[in-house]
Symmetry: C2
Subunit: 250 residues, 2 copies
């Protein structure tokens, strides 16, 4: 890549419910698309159980290797929500009632409803910075380059806007998709040539089935719009020669 400096991130999905197969992870997709749009590239995702040592080890490994780390899940009020306490341990910070978080939640609930269970959601590293939650009150938080978000997809999504001015990204990562009515094996050789001639564009090839018909999605990704267009031109050239039907270009 020739862009100035690639800003890279990893995501840690904390949750037995994803490992058991009960819940499909939607947060990776939401986070990745949004991070790409602000010039941050997600290079690794880990799904790990709600186990203290595992969370500490994973957070400490990844925060040293990536510019940003995002965790999702485990910041609610129940016994299996151990992310906040665990992050305190990973950073060796005091875990307790966070004044600002406490004050937000106290105002959010009706008088008398801010019970012990709910107060747990104000407990986190006491020096953490908050990520405001426009959906349901309980804030996320961040310490250095580690950002802790909830696991519920709609709530997570609603909190990202609050991070726009906190994260520093590079050039937005652009993409173009060419959907063809063909088989991967028909275009494999030509596509390899185009990839070899266009090192700055990441070319992915993905078979799809849609309405009973097979096809191939070619996805071009780069921070350089002109290079994507060059590459697209070269692909459409061999597509024409091979008389392959174009389903759509997006």
């Amino acid at each position: 890549m020739t862009n100035k400096k690639e800003i890279i991130a990893s995501i840690i999905i904390i949750g037995n419910e994803v490992l058991s197969g009960r819940t499909k992870d939607l947060n990776t997709s939401t986070l990745s698309i949004w991070l790409n749009s602000i010039g941050i590239s997600v290079q690794e995702v880990r799904v790990i159980p709600d186990v203290e040592k595992k969370i500490i080890d994973t957070v400490n490994e990844l925060r040293n290797r990536f510019d940003y780390v995002f965790t999702t899940g485990g910041i609610g009020p129940t016994h299996d929500d151990i992310t906040a306490e665990t992050i305190s341990k990973a950073f060796d910070l005091k875990y307790g009632l966070h004044k600002e978080a406490f004050s937000i939640l106290e105002k959010y609930y009706e008088p008398g409803e801010f019970n012990e269970g709910r107060q747990k959601m104000a407990k986190m590293p006491v020096t953490a910075k908050l990520i405001l939650n426009p959906s349901s009150g309980a804030p996320g938080f961040y310490v250095e380059n580690v950002f802790c978000l909830p696991g519920v997809p709609s709530i997570l999504k609603s909190m990202l806007g609050g991070l726009n001015n906190v994260l520093v990204g590079g050039d937005p990562i652009l993409s173009k998709t060419i959907n063809l009515r063909t088989y991967e094996s028909e275009i494999a050789k030509s596509l390899t040539n185009v990839q070899n001639n266009n090192k700055d564009v990441e070319i992915g090839s993905y078979p799809f089935f849609r309405q009973g018909k097979l096809g191939v999605s070619i996805v071009l990704r780069s921070v350089h719009k002109a290079k994507i267009e060059d590459c697209s031109f070269q692909i459409l050239k061999f597509v024409k020669t091979k008389k392959i039907e174009i389903v759509e270009i997006d």
Copy 2:
């Protein structure tokens, strides 16, 4: 856990398309549910890019730590399909045309259609064992405890049956879900008590929104049916005392 020996697995999702957010990973859920049913517990998932060194390092780390490792993606005919060659390198095995895979694919295609692109799908560690593919011909393969499956969810799903006699699992991991019309904070304390008294059952608590209404799913998981039922009884007891509505038990 008191079961004889827990058999543990990890999953490696190989694919830029998941990291970019373009594709939501469905394979973890399919694999985990199926593995649980044959007594294998998935303890970690990694999503990594189509980058040779990254794949080699991840496979070599995880195959030493887990009884089984499953990879998905990267075994098609295009330039970005590098899993088979990379697994050969991870195990220091010769990469080339696999006789049995070649013979399967040669029969699968019409005469003259088994072109160079398609022949790539017969290339893998030459001593690998095959995982048959009832959907689209091209087999997966395994070397020692590492099982390589395709990324297309429907094809992956169709290949699992062929592994039933290859994998050795423990007792099936059972689960029971109790959906309640309540908030997590209302039940957090009671649920903590039940968890403390039932160490052999993993209790998860997950808020949900459905048809505009909030609720909480309590998920009990264990290899012991009787212990799940005990635990369920204790939960339903406090649910009754608190006059919480039960939405469904599954």
